[in-house]
Symmetry: C2
Subunit: 552 residues, 2 copies
């Protein structure tokens, strides 16, 4: 279709994380967010996952800018990598750019990034796109949704949001702007599906304020609060409550220290004078006069709270009488680590207040009633559920149908599927390259399926190396076979097994010699098969078997 | 203390799974249950975990029998291993012994097991112990709690239970027996803590009956129901509902087929004649006339439902119009796998009814109000929360306090801690050996920390093998160095890196020669360090480095 608007999701549709989407009208493109994702369990050894942006690289010259909705990792985390390939101007709010700055400094690969600070209420023009930034609530400060006027109609992208009626900063979401856009007429709404399975409304951050107040009132001795470092409203709550109860606040954990510093510098945290103290000074105050704010709400192995729970933190030891508040939900996949941390804290004698005790955490994403409210305010002609795994997108599509969007105007699509819109029509129109790029150490994309498959096999039953030195000319064994194993069996108890295996290998090598098999690949394959079969029969394990033939 | 009763938990306290406990009075011992546990994510390659029963082996001659409460893996699964070391008589209900038989047949290591079939209501005498079996509800049939009269007083062990007021088999738990024991006076109650965090009552299995009915009424085409194979009440529900709606039932998945067969043979499943059909015959019936009962409710990679969701099942393909019911909760740690299966089923066009839709699954364990009811019925002098991770035990202890048990009479202990009781006193009295034994293939206990540590390192960054053939006499390099890597980098793209590494190794070998370092261990350590440093600098990865020196 000529003169149509293309919507091209490159991440975040059919998955939670690495949100990124391109909008294109003729030769003008904008990109919304550039997030990362944390690896699944089966991505062994991988540090992070970023979106495949081949399409953006190929169309680099058309990109007018990257627009950021907020400063969470799943919205800005891929920028240090993506900006190496396409250095275009970035637009975001003050806090978002502050957090991005810290990331770019750490990565040190990207220079000369043009950053433009915008505020909710501002409008900018990028090529064919007029973008208005709309204030919404979420579990970080300074978050915006986007109202984008294009030649074919207005697009609304919610980013991540909830409709918090009583937010901590007393700035409710900009209902009026959504209502105004809805009244003008919106062509396409793209809305956050993270909580599309949850009925009702997401509780207000104010609920946590009440729970914190109660916790502080009841705590006899120290209070330790773990939360996401990026949840600045929550940190503000903790600090405000601490000040009210005349407690000093110390901060533990690298990312918590970083975010508190950035947020203070940029004016997103109000800290009453004299409230913050050094972590080393905690012991200088009476136990009922201190609060420790810490990372580790997900039970991450190296985090401050996990170390405290394991008696392995250099500065803070958990002691009976401590009250530990875990002010976060376990992200799916982290449940076991979080539970282990809670168990260990109880074992140290702490009172632990955690998720299943209601009121200690609320989600940052809209639940079903709020999603319907967004749909009803914006009244879009077309609807695309975004930011969610496939079942979330399906549930969100059902909600849209419930409020009256025609089923044929709802597009449940995944990364890489291109949608085209004119003033009155929308359709799925082909595919572009999309996918996952794995980051492992300094390597971006160099770990693929073969490497992961090997890591998986090695992780299950270890490996056995069989080394033989041979004379290539006559196929005679000069030295070996030697057998070395790792992660397979406990070596000292398995000497006999290894000796027997050597015998088997010797015998197959002899057979090869007799049969005049001289191709090394063929010899290796005989050795691999013989040893593999032997070890499987004896142990029911399938270690990776690596025959190595050295030539003299 | 002389003439006291010892309670010795060897598994299931401070963890979910591998439940096993010994009771000892003078020279008489009994064992309650012998369960296994599934491995944590970090136990790479491990198949299962069984309890360390060193204490039982050492006291073999005193053991009068093993008493089983029900047939779940976490209560009987370690028996094929434990019976190899202590072959003592087993007491259990008909279904429990039937499931045990199937396990023992599979393992084929244990013969001549003396099994005694008991019914709820029976009493047996094992040495100093008079054991009465008490009917309770749980997510499998034929489950008993234990009332154990000992010379110092009566012990009640609930096993796993819930108070289902409207169970599927119309046999409510034996409230009267608990009440009677409570009236007589109970010294110690040990009670199931699995759901001690959950307020209120656990829903009745009847709720699932209603949801099934509604699902069958609404389904236009095929219905596929995934559940735990051992949940015989749930399977009965599915079959009964299918028969009512004139649908045929086919069974998919090895363990589902096994359990359905065993349960039918033993009379625990009522299957109306002509209801069951072969899986291959499903296509011979109209779509609205069939139900498929399948394994895979946990998204297990090799299970029938997961294969269907991946279009990888030989016999059943998911087609638009199918209704899939996942009648189970994800066990902690399995959430991601279950979600992926749900997403894939939606992608195939199925309607999926799952956990967050209420009524499709209920727990088999008592919630807080039921736990308090048990405490109030039994009115124990002493209380020991069992079957739960540490926080569950703590929460259960708080419930006991709430109903009036004195805090000093509540013992929150973990595996291996011995408790001693007289008629009026209880105390923690030392420790016995306890712990985990890892089963990997045929190996029981041969995979320890070193092997697991190696597997972990291999899984993270793979390995690099550096082979050199040397003349031991003069330290001259005869062949190599050769470098082979697995799970480290994608080999074709890293030739340069490997060549550079070889150069580094050559150079350090030369240095060794010059410095007359001839000890092979010392040379290996130089090579390992040089290569490790080089690879870390270039990739920020730390593969396992294995230098191998072959001698000619």
């Amino acid at each position: 279709m000529k003169g149509c608007l293309k919507i091209i999701p490159l991440g975040g549709l059919g998955e939670i994380g690495k949100n990124i989407m391109a909008l294109r009208y003729k030769d003008d493109m904008i990109v919304i967010d550039s997030g990362l994702m944390f690896p699944d369990d089966e991505m062994l050894g991988i540090d992070l996952v970023i979106p495949d942006v081949t399409y953006l690289v190929e169309n680099r010259k058309h990109i007018r800018g990257i627009v950021l909705t907020h400063g969470h990792e799943d919205h800005i985390g891929a920028l240090p990598y993506i900006l190496r390939e396409i250095n275009v101007p970035i637009y975001g709010t003050k806090l978002t750019l502050g957090l991005l700055d810290a990331k770019l400094k750490e990565s040190s690969y990207v220079n000369n990034v043009k950053k433009h600070c915008i505020c909710a209420g501002d409008t900018i023009k990028l090529g064919a796109f007029n973008i208005e930034f709309i204030h919404v609530s979420h579990s970080i400060a300074d978050v915006v949704a986007l109202g984008i006027r294009t030649p074919v109609g207005t697009i609304v992208h919610t980013g991540d949001f909830k409709f918090d009626q009583t937010p901590v900063n007393n700035k409710p979401p900009d209902y009026h702007k959504f209502a105004e856009l809805g009244k003008e007429g919106v062509l396409v709404l793209m809305s956050d599906s993270t909580n599309a399975e949850r009925p009702g409304y997401t509780l207000s951050e104010r609920v946590v304020a009440d729970t914190f107040d109660e916790t502080f009132r009841n705590a006899r001795e120290r209070i330790i609060i773990a939360s996401f470092a990026s949840n600045i409203h929550r940190i503000q709550l903790a600090i405000t409550t601490a000040a009210r109860y005349k407690r000093k606040v110390a901060v533990a954990g690298r990312s918590m220290v970083n975010v508190v510093n950035i947020a203070r510098e940029l004016g997103y945290l109000e800290v009453p004078a004299g409230t913050l103290i050094e972590l080393d000074d905690v012991t200088n105050y009476p136990k009922n006069r201190v609060v420790v704010l810490t990372t580790g709400s997900q039970g991450e192995p190296m985090s401050a709270l996990t170390r405290m729970a394991m008696c392995d933190h250099k500065r803070i030891e958990i002691i009976p009488g401590d009250t530990v508040v875990i002010s976060a939900s376990p992200i799916p996949g982290n449940e076991k680590m979080v539970h282990r941390t809670i168990d260990n804290l109880f074992r140290q004698g702490a009172e632990v207040i955690y998720e299943s005790v209601s009121g200690v955490h609320v989600s940052g994403h809209a639940s079903q009633e709020e999603l319907k409210l967004m749909l009803n305010l914006v009244k879009p002609k077309f609807f695309i559920p975004v930011h969610g795994e496939y079942r979330h997108l399906i549930k969100h599509a059902q909600l849209a149908q419930d409020v009256g969007v025609s089923p044929e105007n709802i597009f449940v699509v995944e990364n890489g599927q291109v949608l085209e819109f004119t003033r009155d029509r929308g359709s799925v129109a082909g595919r572009v390259t999309s996918g996952r790029v794995l980051v492992d150490g300094l390597g971006v994309g160099d770990v693929g399926n073969i490497v992961l498959r090997d890591r998986r096999q090695l992780s299950q039953d270890g490996l056995v190396i069989i080394v033989v030195t041979m004379n290539q000319e006559n196929g005679e064994v000069v030295a070996g076979p030697d057998i070395i194993s790792r992660g397979f069996v406990y070596v000292r108890e398995s000497e006999e097994l290894i000796e027997e295996a050597k015998e088997k290998v010797r015998s197959i090598l002899k057979t090869c010699e007799v049969q005049q098999i001289t191709e090394w690949a063929a010899i290796k394959s005989c050795v691999r098969e013989t040893a593999g079969k032997f070890f499987y029969e004896r142990t029911r394990r399938r270690p990776m078997i690596l025959p190595i033939i050295m030539d003299v």
